[in-house]
């Protein structure tokens, strides 16, 4: 379980997160939604100790993120950043292989190699395995980065806008992969999504943020109401029900 207790963050005098308290149970997909600048990326980077906590506490399986050895945390929690630009010329296979770094510190064993092959297969990257990542399209590179994060094999995966640059086919594919990984291996995914309908279709829980505050929190059916969406995104949109899940007509 990830426990976020009374976390606030400000940059200079500008408040970014405002007294957030949140428990994310183990297992399932939690979607983090909200407008640009709501603080979604900031929250993820605090959980992943990419920036220091200013106030409050964050515990991952009881381990406080500020004081737990970084390597130990890296075996439990992986993060894919929103701007995960990688300038190095690594092949897709090498890049995914570095996802195993927290476990082997550079000396990959047979198990690590098998996991890399599994990740290549899961994300349909075998054909690109020997290509340098700087020769890939944005979407292909994004898939390689997601595969690397997945390959880290952690109980918790924090994915900041993983659908960036992906076409419809691969966006759907990625969400389904995530679903099966989470279901089969009891993993936990916390995913920032901009497409509210991806969240509606695939998430177990949706947390909606605005101006550094949690506005709504619950199942897709609980959170995706006309009132909530107006509160979060600033305009009213129609909501339909299809196969028991909400469908938001966000574009109309």
């Amino acid at each position: 379980m990830i426990r976020i207790e009374n976390v606030s963050l400000s940059h200079r005098d500008m408040p970014i997160l405002h007294d957030i308290t949140l428990s994310l149970e183990k297992g399932g997909i939690t979607a983090l939604v909200g407008p640009n600048g709501a603080g979604k990326s900031s929250l993820l980077s605090l959980i992943a100790r990419l920036q220091p906590l200013q106030t409050g506490r964050i515990l991952v399986d009881g381990l406080p993120v500020g004081s737990t050895p970084s390597r130990l945390l890296a075996q439990r929690l992986a993060i894919l950043r929103q701007d995960g630009a990688v300038a190095s010329r690594l092949t897709v296979r090498e890049l995914i292989g570095f996802g195993r770094f927290p476990h082997h510190q550079g000396r990959a064993g047979a198990a690590d190699i098998a996991l890399v092959e599994a990740a290549l297969e899961q994300f349909e990257l075998q054909a690109l395995a020997e290509r340098f990542i700087d020769t890939l399209s944005g979407g292909q590179r994004q898939r390689a980065l997601v595969a690397m994060t997945f390959c880290q094999g952690t109980d918790y995966m924090l994915l900041d806008e993983p659908l960036n640059n992906l076409d419809m086919f691969h966006a759907r594919q990625l969400m389904r992969s995530l679903r099966s990984i989470v279901d089969e291996r009891q993993r936990t995914a916390i995913v920032v999504l901009h497409d509210i309908n991806q969240a509606a279709a695939h998430a177990d829980r949706i947390v909606a943020l605005r101006d550094g505050k949690v506005i709504a929190d619950g199942t897709p059916n609980e959170v995706l109401t006309e009132d909530n969406l107006e509160l979060v995104f600033g305009y009213r949109m129609q909501i339909m029900q299809i196969a028991g899940r909400p469908l938001v007509l966000q574009h109309l």
Partner: protein
Amino acid sequence: MVKLAACAAFVMLVILSIFIGAGEFSPWQAIHDPAALQLFFASRLPRTIAAALTGAALSIAGLIMQALVRNRFVEPSTAGTAQSAALGILIMTLVFPAASLAMKTLFASILALLGTSIFMMTAHRLPPAQPYLVPLFGLVYGGVIGAVVTFIGWQTELLQFIDIWTNGEFSGVVRGRYELLWGTALMAAIAWWIADRLTVLSLGRDVSIGLGLSYQRTLQLGLVIVSVISALTVVIVGIIPFVGLVVPNLVSRMLGDNLRGTIPWVGLSGATLVLGCDVLGRLLRYPYEIPVATVMGVVGAILFLRLMFTRATHA
């Protein structure tokens, strides 16, 4: 194929380097003439080893620096590292002229570390969207430190020494005067040992922390390796430009940036390039010599321009 060619070129240049020079020395004599054998052990072999070590180490230092700064266009001699080392040895020569070469090198390493740290701290503040600002800043920064060195040298009438440190050449390398250079081999070995950590580091701070790497410690270790290599080569050989820039870039084009796999090839290519330039410098105006730094200035510039104007080959 390219790898085989690099190995062959290296072996050939080692042989050439041993048999070319002002003194008579042929393979036949090597076996029969004790005086020739003496020349071999006292001068030819040390010079060849020194050139190979320097080339390999400077290339690896360039590679590491590029990984630390995450910019392909920096190297120790254009980012103030080598100039800071020269400043260090100048200060030692002025203040403690009796100090041993090892002590002078140690102090030069410390100043190199300091100078490079300041460069790095500033480089990380420059806007990442403009990658050419970093090498430009490095050039100016290195230039300023170099000017300070020249100014002090001029004031203290040590200019001819400064020329020795800033204009690299191997003609002064004889047995007993180069052995400290083996320290660079040690540094290169450490770099290879931590190659995976350096590769992770080159993926950026956030990825490094996400993968549980102790980011600051690895950064510092990399800085120490770069600084010690720079100081050792400046003290014993002098500054040689371009090696640390062109060799890592050429190898990266062909083999990528996974340092565990590329460090040996960067080292071998760097050794080959510097050996080649040294041999060329001995042949061009035979029996006179052109300093290796001068030859490298021309050869390196040509290679660099080629790099800039050819696109990377896709694997």
